[in-house]
Symmetry: C2
Subunit: 131 residues, 2 copies
Amino acid sequence: MIVDDQLGATRDSVDDLVPYLRAFDEIEHDPNQLLIVAAVEDEPVGTLQLTIIPGMARKGARRGQIEAVRVRGDHRGSGLGGRLIRWAVAESRQRGCALVQLTSDVSRVNAHRFYERLGFVASHTGFKLAL
Amino acid sequence: MIVDDQLGATRDSVDDLVPYLRAFDEIEHDPNQLLIVAAVEDEPVGTLQLTIIPGMARKGARRGQIEAVRVRGDHRGSGLGGRLIRWAVAESRQRGCALVQLTSDVSRVNAHRFYERLGFVASHTGFKLAL
């Protein structure tokens, strides 16, 4: 699903799984990282990563940050993406977060409408610096 | 500095420090959270929080996320903000991150120019959902 993505196609590859396994191990051992996988008959069809970030501002508010939202091509339009996001929002609330945040590439216009339908507000500009 | 901020003024208060102390403790005990404070003669004049987020995409790349950039009013324009950001970029690189990211409220137009001068690209839309 990572490779089979509008943007990931140029950035990911299954030729060498070692870096992915190392990353999975790191996520698994960090209690503030939650990587969920939606499966149909044991086949993964969607993923989402939620990071809980403690912070000082907004009266010491935690925030839930959503990354890596992926839905397999043949499951798009099924409502699965919405279920993944709603799970992340509920989990963030349960963990005492005051807000949930994510960024989406400006080219992903369908994704933007999707997040707005779920109640998110496009209030920020997302800056990235490649290292 | 949190209260004395364009947006924080309505969201923070020093009347009750307990939630801030709890948040500080949480940040201090998480090895992926780095809260730095710039001081002049033991007086805090700037802060920045860097969160290291492991991830699967981009070949298992870690990302450095910058939050809570604050420079005390009487130190703005001194270059301190740039030094804080460059520290976060260098630290992210040292910790194996493939990118550094942050979001900035669309109303903070001066901040946007500042991040672009430091090499950041406004490639994303930042969505927030208040809980």
